[in-house]
Symmetry: C2
Subunit: 323 residues, 2 copies
């Protein structure tokens, strides 16, 4: 896993993934007490950065292997990223989802060309179902984060941040990254280490699910007590990955954590001041920029909004905080 893999992924993504812009608002600067620069990956294809990693992994496969198709376990953003990237490559994808996943997510994944395989959370092991099917059809598993080509794809976000920060004259800043399993965090950290060493990644997690922050403190992989029960569903993972954690450990500053209320406030501010749709898990980094001033250094802070696939009813609730 190195910077050359990220640069190679960027070449493969060129013309396929979007180069998202860098946004800002004087109103957010005022709240944060410093200049806030936002990288809105909610504007990426399929509504999250996950499309980058999915495209990177798909495009790196040997064409004969790819032609047989891919498989992923996900009920969320990774599912949509893999399904869409596979369809655009003209190959089949199987997405294994729990049968109680939201109807809209199942529907969207199907509409993007994924074959959705539902399993019963209680009675069945998704790994066994997936393994059997993968062997039968010769499908390649695309893991959500602990996979070098996926990390390389997410890292292309970091190459863009480095270039865009240079354009606006920012060479030293904390870069707050919404962190689940750590694919985006590790990828951006590697890219910045190479292209903008004055920019330092800080992982941001939901309070109570801050496995990465705790792992950074203890120096070994720590686990969360649960992987559900928080509004930031997109970034609830059991623990940092075996590949992502050493990268995060080598290159990132201390982690931060925010409450559900702070995440919802950030969703509302992204609506009001940036005109982008963030999901709560995608807004934790913005929440940290706005609510953890004392934990940050410098006159500038860079923030990722990692996704925008939010249920309309939940989004309406976030906007209630404005009225």
């Amino acid at each position: 896993m190195n910077i050359d893999m990220i640069r190679a992924a960027a070449a493969r993504l060129d013309g396929h993934a979007r180069r998202t812009p860098m946004l800002s608002s004087p109103f957010l600067d005022e709240i944060a007490g410093r200049r806030v620069w936002i990288k809105p990956e909610c504007l990426q294809r399929t509504g999250s950065f996950k499309f980058r990693g999915a495209w990177s992994a798909l495009s790196a496969l040997d064409p004969d292997v790819r032609a047989r198709g891919v498989i992923a376990f996900s009920s969320g953003n990774h599912a949509q990223g893999v399904a869409h990237a596979a369809t655009l490559h003209g190959v089949p994808s199987v997405i294994v989802m729990p049968s109680d996943a939201p109807a809209l997510k199942i529907e969207n994944t199907r509409a993007l060309g994924g074959e959705v395989l539902l399993y019963d959370r209680d009675g069945q092991s998704r790994e066994e179902i997936g393994k059997a099917l993968a062997e039968e059809r010769g499908l390649t598993l695309i893991k959500p984060y602990d996979e070098p080509q996926v990390i390389a794809g997410q890292g292309t976000t970091g190459l863009e941040i480095a270039a865009q920060a240079a354009e606006i004259g920012v060479s030293e800043a904390d870069v707050l990254v919404c962190c689940g399993g750590g694919g985006l965090t590790a990828g951006i950290a590697l890219a910045l280490n190479a292209d903008a060493p004055g920019l330092r990644v800080r992982p941001v997690e939901p309070e109570g699910f801050d496995d990465v922050a705790r792992s950074l403190r203890s120096g070994e992989i720590e686990r969360n007590a649960a992987t559900s029960g928080n509004i930031c569903d997109a970034i609830l993972t059991p623990c940092p990955g075996d590949i992502t954690f050493p990268i995060i450990q080598a290159h990132c500053g201390p982690g931060l954590a925010v409450s559900e209320e702070e995440a919802m406030m950030a969703v509302a501010q992204a609506f009001l001041r940036l005109k982008v749709v963030a999901e709560p898990g995608g807004a934790v980094a913005l929440a940290a920029a706005l609510c953890r001033q004392d934990a940050l250094d410098g006159a500038d802070v860079i923030v990722t909004i990692s996704g925008g696939n939010v249920d309309p009813t939940l989004f309406q609730r976030a906007l209630d905080t404005l009225t």
Copy 2:
């Protein structure tokens, strides 16, 4: 008014206005029955394309004239664009607004550095108030659309559309533009005429306020019966401008009109599929792409979302259509 003015404006805007991306979604393509490419100017500074025209006009002024300050009449997007552009130029701005304007808009305009001058809609003429103050302080009036340097600024959107369409291989398409007084429509039409002559602008208005469409049909400037009473407040103007109309007449195809319900549906789709916040008046072009298939030609359509400054409560209502 010519293409050279637009190119000069683009040079002045470089590094100050945002180059907004080009978005798309397979879900919108499906609804529209063709490929839909979206230029989201809601992501522009101050939440609408108006910042381009304001910056263009301010930056074109003689420095001594500019230093005395500018004045604008607006309770909406033009107000915020002028106030922010003036502040960034380090010069004062006076924004004349009706005293019954929404509190949030007054507050935002002030926060962006504008001196807000409130007048009583019934008892006072805003033109007289403004004229007296402009003379007393030597302020320059920045008109919202019927002003060449403002049109030149809005036209920079068209230069970007031409370049972005070339990148995605689209050389023939209708370009749907949300149309009030016609500054954005005329500017984009001039830019495309020069840089992408296969792209043809079609103005889109709210039903009942389709002065531009009617003027194009009759060949002379037609007026709306009212300039309020529609949810698309950002684009309710009495009639096309003396400068904008001849440009629109020379370069645009027939106008289109959509209902309030269709505009609200487009706001909801922009949320769901593009992850951007559109205001109803900024979503009429998307509404036309989704609901007026038979009135459009070709395998591709390009759509502007002109602004996103929408009240949270109204936005929540738009999302109700999804649940």
